[in-house]
């Protein structure tokens, strides 16, 4: 049993719903009690979908449990098929139905429908949302293609040449409730078509069962999100030899690497190599003198595996930040995130507890947090600027404007989204510096909101912070000159300077900290 106050991922059947709702002509009969219908609002409210998710909930009640819940399942399947006329039917169960073992998938298969039926077994007590989405996508592909892959020859990725057509690829992985998937797909298709590469199928987002059946018309697959599509790409590789790309095109360097990888896999010569560097404004914006102050900014990163790893690479190599924390809630991606952290000489944080993340964030004392909506809240409490880079989705993560994370435009979006909060942080510093000047308007509101007076949460945090500082001051004495010097340190490094100086003083056995001690400590730690 695990105490959970808030969770980054929903249950696996919500992942299945993400895939089903992303697709056309598909229906999902979910053996589940009435409360599980809450999941519809994720799509209709957060994504602002104008259609209901294509899901029928069997809505069994306590009084049904003594009787024949299997009959109830069959009745719902019959009604759903008749009403929605799906071309493929998904059948599965949520956590409670898993316990009563009606095996709805097997029941459905015995009902004599002439449409493909995908039996989804998603263990609700050990797996989570992204796993459920990945498994569902894989099972759909397997069900719809398993006969065909036995009949066709292995797919040669260079075959477009002798077939006398442009090369074409599938883009696999984007779903509803995935971070900026809607726009990433457009950006990647645009980039590929500039290179003379056609898109065969995008799936699950916007695809139909017929589209899945013609996945094998493409020369290679583009795996856009490992969490959702890697298992499917692997199956297609194993069963029909389809190669797939593994580079995630987020950031300039990886967008370029991605384009290289696609060309290599297709054996397509890359003719515009020189142009690629100039497709996005990020490299120049990052080089321009204005960005000098970005150098070595301490950044803490937490999110899903794909976006966290990508963020770490961009932060370090393209913006010149120092990554002081990297973590993910995607256990399936733990290995890759650990490897990325190791390259940065830090230890990865793999957890599903937002409180652990908040603690790690406090300890790392970053100047910028890149995280989920939850980290945005934690950072706000700590007074640290934050930009959101990952699911779980919030209505703000579905902006009206075109706002991809991938490709050239994605890099532009990332530059703005990450740097603007930092500039606001700088503004904060200036407010702090000039607050004693006579021009300063009293009551200037901070964009971070932590100066608001009627916020009980922040009051608590502040209370807590002052308790901490009182405790620390008990252990070692700060002289007036020491305190005065500390107030001159910019606010965003003050906490770090304070704890470093105390550490230094303790290690040297000093009885008190004065202004000189601060400079000694500064020299000591470099």
């Amino acid at each position: 049993m695990e105490l959970t106050l808030w969770t980054y991922e929903g249950p696996p059947h919500v992942g299945a719903m993400r895939v089903a709702s992303s697709m056309k002509d598909i229906h999902y009969v979910l053996h589940a009690p009435q409360g599980d219908t809450y999941a519809d609002l994720l799509f209709t409210m957060i994504e602002r979908r104008g259609q209901r998710p294509p899901v029928t909930y069997t809505t069994f009640q306590a009084r049904d449990l003594g009787g024949d819940t299997a009959e109830l399942v069959k009745r719902n399947i019959t009604e759903a098929v008749e009403r929605f006329q799906p071309k493929t039917l998904l059948v599965g169960e949520s956590c409670t139905a898993e316990l009563i073992q009606d095996q709805p998938g097997a029941l459905a298969k015995g009902m004599g429908f002439d449409i493909p039926i995908v039996n989804l077994e998603l263990p609700a007590y050990s797996k989570k949302e992204n796993w459920g989405a990945s498994e569902t996508f894989y099972q759909i592909i397997r069900t719809l293609l398993k006969d065909k892959v036995n009949e066709i020859d292995k797919i040669n990725p260079h075959r477009w040449r002798f077939l006398g057509r442009r090369p074409k690829v599938n883009i696999l992985g984007p779903t509803l409730l995935g971070f900026r998937c809607r726009d990433d797909v457009i950006e990647i298709q645009r980039i590929l078509s500039e290179q003379g590469i056609d898109t065969n199928v995008v799936a699950p987002l916007g695809s139909s069962p017929e589209d899945i059946e013609r996945l094998t018309d493409a020369d290679i697959n583009v795996c856009l999100y490992h969490e959702i599509a890697e298992i499917s790409c692997e199956w297609l590789k194993r069963n029909c030899g389809m190669e797939y790309t593994t580079t995630i095109p987020i950031g300039i360097k990886n967008t370029i690497n991605f384009i290289h990888e696609v060309h290599e896999k297709l054996d397509l010569p890359l003719t515009n190599k020189g142009e690629l560097e100039n497709k996005s404004k990020l490299p120049w914006y990052s080089k321009s003198v204005d960005s000098n102050y970005l150098t070595g900014k301490r950044v803490f990163i937490f999110g899903d595996g794909t976006h966290a790893i990508a963020a770490a690479k961009i932060a370090k190599n393209e913006l010149g930040f120092e990554v002081v924390g990297l973590g993910t809630y995607s256990r399936e991606m733990a290995r890759q995130v650990r490897a990325a952290a190791k390259e940065l000489n830090i230890e990865a944080l793999i957890t599903n507890s937002y409180l652990e993340v908040e603690d790690a964030m406090k300890k790392a004392s970053p100047e910028l947090v890149l995280g989920t909506q939850m980290e945005r809240h934690s950072a706000k409490r700590l007074g640290i600027p934050c930009s959101v880079i990952s699911t779980p989705m919030h209505v703000q993560d579905v902006p009206a404007r075109y706002s991809p994370q991938m490709g050239w435009e994605g890099a532009n979006v990332i530059f703005d989204d990450w740097v603007h909060p930092l500039m606001m942080g700088l503004e904060e510093h200036l407010i702090d510096m000039f607050k004693h000047d006579f021009e300063f308007v009293d009551g200037h509101q901070s964009h971070l909101g932590h100066t608001a007076t009627n916020d009980p949460v922040n009051k608590e945090t502040k209370q807590e912070q002052s308790n901490i500082s009182i405790q620390k001051e008990k252990s070692i004495l700060w002289t007036e000159s020491g305190k005065a010097e500390l107030t001159k340190v910019p606010f965003f490094v003050r906490g770090k300077v304070k704890s470093n100086t105390e550490k230094y003083a303790l290690s040297k056995g000093l009885p008190e900290i004065n202004d000189e001690t601060l400079y000694d400590a500064k020299a000591f730690f470099g």
């Binding site: 049993m1 695990e2 105490l3 959970t4 106050l5 808030w6 969770t7 991922e9 929903g10 249950p11 059947h13 919500v14 009690p33 009435q34 409360g35 599980d36 219908t37 809450y38 999941a39 519809d40 609002l41 994720l42 209709t44 409210m45 602002r48 979908r49 104008g50 259609q51 209901r52 029928t56 909930y57 069997t58 809505t59 069994f60 009640q61 306590a62 449990l65 719902n76 009604e79 009403r83 949520s94 956590c95 409670t96 316990l99 009563i100 263990p123 609700a124 007590y125 050990s126 989570k128 809607r182 409180l355 909506q373 939850m374 809240h377 409490r381 919030h394 949460v457 608590e460 945090t461």
Partner: protein
């Protein structure tokens, strides 16, 4: 009994389960913690319905069952003890801990009552433990509050003092207002349940007269009767008419002359009717379809028809307690179509066929209906907004007139959606 048309329907539903009521119960009693014993689905449901990210540490959580908990119940009880211990040591401010059963915990027959009993002995004097079920196989949405209140009754001491007890969660400002009005009417000993602090439970007994503020409290009412309380049957205090009759029924139980009530209420009622007018102008003659969710639907239909002039196409309710709703049903126009239960697909067919001007529905259905050009009002707002009482009548009407006004401003009936 009135001449309304009562129907029952079964089939796939689109409603929240009883766990959702934690979202307003934890705000009402800030010294209580609600620990759901359930699955990741339960945790995800509550955070999705509540948008809990605004809290540093929310006053509710889920003990998520894992595979090993399903293998043996003895171990599951042990595990739950461990989770509770951790929670109490981290949150020493908790005074009452609700162990809330869920669909999976009910199906595996986790005995939360026994767990609560044992914990009560161990933490005696520090934290009180009660248990109830908010499972979706037994409860719908607001029925979770019914379970929580019923669970608190055994903790309430007995008294023979005469008092008026208002039962059902109210917004604090509405509660204050109700107490003040009853004081003016001449009833001085007015208490309310659930209280603002979980430890300050009212005493009850044979001279306690219960006036319900919410219609969804069937089980609580039954147990209050067992404790000797007198239940005052009345329409619910929504709108001027409902609230007036509600105050009158309360006064009558205390043998206070109706004239006295009218004297106190008349100026408020006049003011409220004036404030209602601008909404009534928009709502009059408009066709209303209420989908089942909160059990407030019948009272809302009565208000929107009698005071705002709306036409009722269909009034859905997840559950109909005829005793508690009798007074309300009598106020509805003849032949009002009431449907208890739901077959969401068939009901949506009827929605489309009847081309309503406004549909009251859950959040899962609102945007899809809007995309079809049908104006909607989400029912969850009724349980979060202060809508009770005469002073709030215009605000309540405003919840329904706003989508229509907005629709008029934006003109085009069908927007392109993605």
């Amino acid at each position: 009994m009135s001449k309304v048309e009562l129907n029952k329907e079964t089939g796939p539903r689109e409603v929240f389960c009883g766990l959702t009521s934690i979202v307003w119960l934890h705000r009402r009693m800030p010294d209580a913690f609600f620990l759901v014993v359930g699955s990741r689905t339960c945790a995800h449901l509550i955070q999705s319905a509540a948008g809990v990210m605004i809290f540093a540490e929310p006053r509710f959580g889920t003990a998520i069952l894992e595979e090993k908990d399903l293998a043996g119940l003895a171990d599951a009880h042990e595990e739950l003890n461990r989770v509770v211990n951790d929670l109490i040591s981290r949150r020493p401010e908790i005074k009452t801990l609700f162990l809330v059963g869920s669909c999976p915990s009910e199906v595996i027959k986790l005995d939360l009552a026994t767990v609560a009993q044992k914990l009560n002995r161990r933490f005696s004097g520090q934290v009180r433990f009660v248990n109830y079920s908010g499972s979706g196989i037994e409860t719908t949405f607001t029925q979770g509050e019914d379970g929580a209140l019923k669970a608190l009754l055994p903790l309430m001491e007995s008294t023979d003092d005469e008092k008026l007890l208002l039962v059902g969660t109210l917004a604090n400002n509405v509660e204050d207002r109700f107490k003040k009005i009853f004081n003016h009417i001449g009833i001085t000993n007015v208490e309310s349940f659930p209280p603002r602090q979980s430890t300050e439970l009212p005493k009850i007994g044979k001279n306690t007269k219960v006036l319900l503020t919410q219609p969804y409290l069937s089980d609580t009412v039954r147990d209050l009767k067992h404790r000797g309380c007198e239940i005052i049957y009345a329409p619910f205090p929504l709108g001027v008419e409902g609230s007036t009759k509600w105050f009158l029924a309360g006064a009558d139980a205390f043998k206070i002359n109706a004239l006295k009530v009218h004297e106190v209420i008349a100026p408020l009622a006049n003011r409220a009717r004036q404030a209602l007018e601008k909404h009534t102008e928009i709502l009059r003659g408009k066709k209303l379809f209420l989908l089942p969710e909160s059990q407030l639907e019948i009272s809302l239909a009565r208000f929107l028809h009698n005071e705002c002039g709306m036409e009722l196409i269909e009034v859905g309710t997840p559950y109909l307690n005829k005793d508690l709703m009798d007074e309300e049903l009598n106020l509805l126009p003849d032949d009002t179509k009431i449907v208890e239960g739901q077959h969401v697909e068939k009901q949506l067919d009827r929605v489309r066929a009847s081309s309503p001007d406004l549909v009251v529905c859950g959040m899962g259905l609102a945007n899809p209906l809007e995309a079809e050009g049908i104006s909607t009002k989400w029912s969850i707002e009724m349980v979060f907004s202060p809508i009770h009482g005469i002073d709030q009548a215009a605000d309540l009407a405003g919840l329904f007139s706003r989508p229509l006004t907005r629709n008029q401003i934006l003109t085009s009936k069908t927007l392109a959606t993605h």
